[in-house]
């Protein structure tokens, strides 16, 4: 069930990527990612699964262009996200673990943020922000400041903010981990539907096997320091029995 993606087809391409924090070779150096190879095809929903501290967030930050790899090559749509940082304006959106809403902006102003960076005309960006807020069930809360919204509502605003720019690539770093299970479940389902509907490529970081199975059509399990220990793809045709097999295999890999 391993997915075959060639580097040329890949929306995201990692080639022998390593990341060392601190001076490489020194006693304080810490190898967070070790020689990883990964290709994600356009439209794929990849769940990266691993225990805390296994380097998931480092890989995430390198794909987002927020961290530079120590060795190896990272390419997103054929370009280096760190060196060509500005060229990804409007092409990549991130949903973080916490909502990270600007407290001095209302819900609708927070959703408009990415569009402001793209110099979208005011009326157009207001309409887009309104559309996504309504779609995520926040109609009527446009002018509320973050402190007046509940945790689940704030995370919806941050999802609306990510979708509003119409970016092709969505990066999500455990966006539902701070929410209660029922709210997280509802938002997760909404999120998957919106990603599929809009044909996005998504990388979803999680430490929950259930969440990875629910969200991904491919799961990569990382072992510390971030190395791929298991890589599996599946689709709607994958039945419950096969999914249970995948779940138990992931459990074995994580426990090993």
């Amino acid at each position: 069930m391993r997915d075959i993606v060639t580097p040329n087809d890949a929306a995201i391409h990692l080639d022998h990527v390593s990341k060392v924090f601190g001076k490489p070779g020194s006693s304080g150096a810490y190898r967070a990612v070790d020689n990883i190879n990964l290709d994600v095809r356009p439209g794929q929903m990849l769940a990266i699964l691993g225990k805390t501290g296994c380097g998931k967030s480092t890989i995430f930050n390198m794909i987002a262009g927020l961290t530079e790899p120590t060795t190896g090559t990272v390419r997103v749509d054929g370009r280096d996200p760190f060196a060509d940082f500005d060229s990804f304006r409007g092409k990549m959106a991130i949903v973080f673990q916490s909502d990270r809403l600007l407290p001095w902006r209302s819900a609708i102003q927070n959703v408009e943020l990415g569009l402001e960076m793209l110099d979208t005309p005011v009326a157009e960006r207001r309409a887009a922000a309104q559309h996504w807020l309504t779609k995520l069930g926040l109609g009527g809360h446009e002018n509320d400041y973050p402190h007046a919204l509940s945790g689940g509502m704030r995370q919806r605003v941050s999802i609306a903010r990510a979708f509003a720019t119409n970016a092709n690539i969505m990066l999500c770093d455990e966006p539902f981990s701070a929410l209660d299970e029922s709210t997280a479940g509802r938002l997760r389902a909404e999120f998957v539907r919106l990603v599929k509907e809009n044909g996005k490529t998504a990388v979803f970081i999680t430490h929950s096997i259930s969440e990875a199975l629910e969200i991904g059509d491919r799961i990569v399990v990382l072992k510390r320091p971030a190395m791929i220990a298991y890589d599996v793809s599946f689709d709607t045709a994958t039945d419950q029995q096969q999914r249970e097999l995948i779940r138990s295999r992931i459990g074995e890999v994580l426990a090993a």
């Binding site: 973080f96 990415g114 960076m117 209660d180 709210t183």
Partner: protein, 271 residues
């Protein structure tokens, strides 16, 4: 965290009016006490020690209504604002450089700390020895005495900015200008307003010293005249001009705070 909406209670009109009256009463009360104590003292002490506040009131009216005297007040106000603006601009730029470069920070921090230890009066003496122009002397003194605190306050605000929020804004790839407008300026604004409030009080004290020894006009110069005439009512009236100015500007800054920071959640339980 749940998905439920937090409940907000809406106060009635009567509650609002009562609250406003209470706040007004509380802000007027301290002034009323000081005024009453002074007036009480004026009944028992000679006029040159504690003049009646009625005399002081008429002297204030005199200052407001006499063009040349009111020009002295405006000159002092302009000197304070120009000095503060100069120190804020230079201090803000230094803070930006210091936050961007550790080497610049290590170089400038000790110098600014050294400046902070120099008394305002020493800067007055230095300015008189170094420069000829009265206005430049006063501007120099105002900038040098308020520069370190502006720099350190802006630097502290820049360093205290949330790294999470910065990364979030960075993820949208903003230009430098947009990063400043959407993230940096709103994040440091509360500290900037506090810095202005603190430095305003300092500047109004320093400007008087600078004008006492180095100017031919302004509130400080007029205070010197009152001292030579042994005229307490005049000294108090001129002092009140500065107090009024500080209160007005503090009021404007508070108004800006109330408008700009209305997004803040207010806890019902006080510290």
């Amino acid at each position: 965290m749940s998905d439920a909406m937090p409940q907000a209670a809406t106060p009635s009109l009567a509650d609002n009016v009562l609250g406003m009256a209470k706040r007004l009463g509380m802000s007027v009360l301290p002034f009323a006490v000081v005024i009453a104590l002074w007036q009480f003292a004026s009944l028992f002490f000679p006029r040159f020690l504690f003049p009646s506040l009625i005399d002081v009131f008429w002297r204030c009216i005199d200052i407001f209504s006499t063009g040349s005297m009111f020009a002295d007040v405006l000159a002092t106000v302009f000197r304070i604002l120009a000095g503060l603006a100069g120190a804020f601009i230079v201090g803000g730029l230094l803070a930006l450089l210091m936050v961007r470069s550790r080497a610049i920070d290590r170089f400038l921090s000790p110098i600014l700390s050294l400046f902070q230890g120099i008394p305002a009066l020493s800067w007055v003496v230095f300015a008189i020895i170094w420069f000829h122009g009265v206005e430049f002397r006063i501007f120099f003194i105002m900038v040098m005495t308020t520069l370190p605190s502006f720099t350190f306050q802006v630097l502290g605000a820049l360093r205290a900015m949330s790294r999470d929020l910065m990364e979030m804004v960075f993820s949208f790839r903003p230009t430098r200008m947009k990063l400043f407008r959407v993230m940096i300026a709103p994040a440091i604004l509360p500290d900037i307003l506090t810095a202005w409030k603190v430095n305003l009080g300092n500047a109004s004290r320093v400007v008087v010293v600078a004008e006492l020894v180095g100017a031919t006009g302004g509130v400080g110069y007029e205070l010197l005249q009152q001292q030579q005439l042994f005229d307490m009512a005049g000294a108090l009236a001129w002092t009140l001009q500065l107090v009024f100015f500080v209160l007005i500007v503090q009021g404007i800054l508070t108004l800006i705070e109330n408008t700009a920071f209305r997004y803040r959640a207010v806890s019902e339980r006080v510290i």
